[in-house]
Amino acid sequence: MNFWQAILEALESVTANKMRSGLTILGIVIGVAAVIAMLAVGDGAQASITGSISGIGSNLLFVFPGNRQEEVRSVEPLTLSDAQALADVFQAPAVQDIAPVIADNLEVSYGGERRRVSINGVTPSYQPVRSYDLLEGEFISEDQILGKASVALIGVDVADRFFQRREAIVGETLRIEGQPFRIIGVLAPKGGGSFGSQDDVVLIPYTTAESRLIRRSRDQVDVIYIQSVDADSVTDAADQVTQILRARHRITIGPNDFTVFSQQDFVETARTITGVFTIFLGGIAAISLLVGGIGIMNIMLVSVTERTREIGLRKALGARRVDILIQFLTESSLLSLFGGILGIGLGWLIAYIVGLIAQANDTPFTPIVGLQAILMATLFSTAVGLFFGIYPANRAAGLEPVEALRHE
């Protein structure tokens, strides 16, 4: 009996009992749909998260004091002169610009409203390095740095909170820890980053922060933002920064007492986390596929019992063991293949709806149904059918013709 005939016969037998076949494949449909939808959501989440991290700027590096991965005996803090050394074009040609920052959460008040907000003491280079746009006003100038001016730029979240508007705020006066600051600009929204909102901030001149709000000894800075000349030179910039800082901190052997972190590192970390998340979801969905497979086995066993006489007759007509085996295996694989195909469709639909819901909730998130997931689901569901069909088919093939023919 050739391949196509086996398929045709299996098709006839599967369609002969539509209701039962439908219910049988439902288990596989749900299993495959769950796998497809979960993988799509997982991949979509990954793309969305890595995308938003990339939005920070692909040529951005961060330098923190301390080393979180290795034990360092005495950590020398990062200082303003460290930052200035990194700006050296000859020692660090891959570095485009630097922006040292000191930051703290301080109480901001306006009218009766008071709230703790992230206050960042920054230099004028902060704007290009972090690529902030302004909704209105202008950024902190060199003069304001030198004059330790009491001026501030606010993020839109702060503007929404205190002023219930995003424009015509320039000229208003905010109090930070009770001290008055004149607002000189509003930052354009950047959206939610992976390290809290980038819009819930207040920027003030570095010198002002250092002298009046955030006490730091010996010109200490909390973080240095570094912009490399382009996206390809991020690694070079990281190497050069590391060398300069090691020299300045007099580290000849042993681990760094600082951490250089690039946006790509964040992407890597996020990808690892979402990858685990995707595998976890997919694994749960795979269990339902397994349950579907057991459903197929169940129905095939019923079918073998019901068709005992038919099997006996086929054997009387000359069917060998293997002919019967192939007949029943083809049926179970076909059932699960149908289930798989329908499941892919349903999973796609679910993923699409999840995407719509996400969009309706202003979350930029698109589930991705990958070709890989489709191929895997198809193969896996057919394999499930084959695997769970083996036992019933074997039972059918092993029937004694005399017994089977006598069966009522």
């Binding site: 009996m1 050739n2 005939q5 006839e12 037998s13 002969a16 006489r309 038919e310 007759l313 086929r314 054997k315 009387a316 007509l317 000359g318 069917a319 060998r320 063991r321 293997v322 002919d323 004694e400 013709p401 005399v402 023919l405």
Partner: protein
């Protein structure tokens, strides 16, 4: 190595014994049966229930193996074959006609008749051969009907066409008229006897019905697992 002593025989059984084990009890269904059937004969096998009639039929039809003794079918020693060899012998040498027709209900008459050819591994011309076989039993105009759309007599004709499609050495008919009214039963018997005459197929009919047995050339009677009488 046993050999057949009878080159003109289609069937030769020597001292055929079959013992079933029902738990602790041994049931001797056949206790040493020997006979020969020659090519082109029409034979009936009779006997009360429990006489070993069904066991003999299953053994002759290669559905079951004897416990002891030798069975030659068309010169081949069948009694020592394995399952797949038996399947092949059934396919090539035995045509079955059952009391309850045993057609596959989802398939057309043509597909039912074609089925043995599929298991024979024949690739080409299957449908033509099946059609010719249906024509031979007078059902040329019903080949695309399903069994449920056919009368009992017509269904049994399809079964006969299916039994003959591989041109077997023997046709085993188990109460072929048992489920039919007397008119259709008569027609089926006439058809079987005509096929014997035109094709020379050896025919073995297992029956209770004396009028059926009377139409055959020879009657083999069984009682308690033994051959009691061979009448011509």
């Amino acid at each position: 190595m046993q050999t057949t002593e009878c080159p003109d025989c289609v069937i030769e059984v020597q001292n055929l014994t079959k013992v079933y084990k029902m738990g602790e009890i041994e049931v001797h269904a056949l206790r040493g049966v020997s006979f020969k059937i020659f090519k082109g004969e029409v034979i009936s096998i009779m006997g009360p229930s429990g006489s070993g009639k069904s066991t003999l039929m299953n053994t002759l039809g290669c559905l079951d193996r004897p416990t002891a003794g030798a069975y030659f079918l068309d010169g081949e020693l069948v009694s020592r074959m394995n399952d797949d060899q038996l399947a092949s012998v059934r396919n090539r040498k035995v045509g079955f006609v059952f009391q309850s027709f045993n057609l596959l209900p989802r398939m057309t008459a043509l597909a039912n008749v074609e089925l043995p050819l599929r298991y024979a591994g024949q690739r080409k011309g299957r449908l033509d051969i099946a059609r010719q076989s249906l024509e031979a039993v007078g059902l040329a105009d019903r080949i695309y009907h399903k069994p449920t759309e056919l009368s009992g007599g017509q269904q049994q004709r399809v079964a006969i066409a299916r039994a003959l499609v591989n041109d077997p050495a023997i046709l085993m008919a188990d109460e072929p008229t048992g489920n039919l009214d007397s008119k259709s039963g008569k027609e089926i018997m006439e058809l079987i006897l005509r096929l014997n005459q035109t094709r020379g197929t050896t025919i073995i009919i297992v029956t209770h019905d004396p009028t059926v047995a009377a139409q055959t050339q020879r009657v083999i009677r069984l009682s308690d697992g033994l051959l009691v009488e061979e009448s011509a």
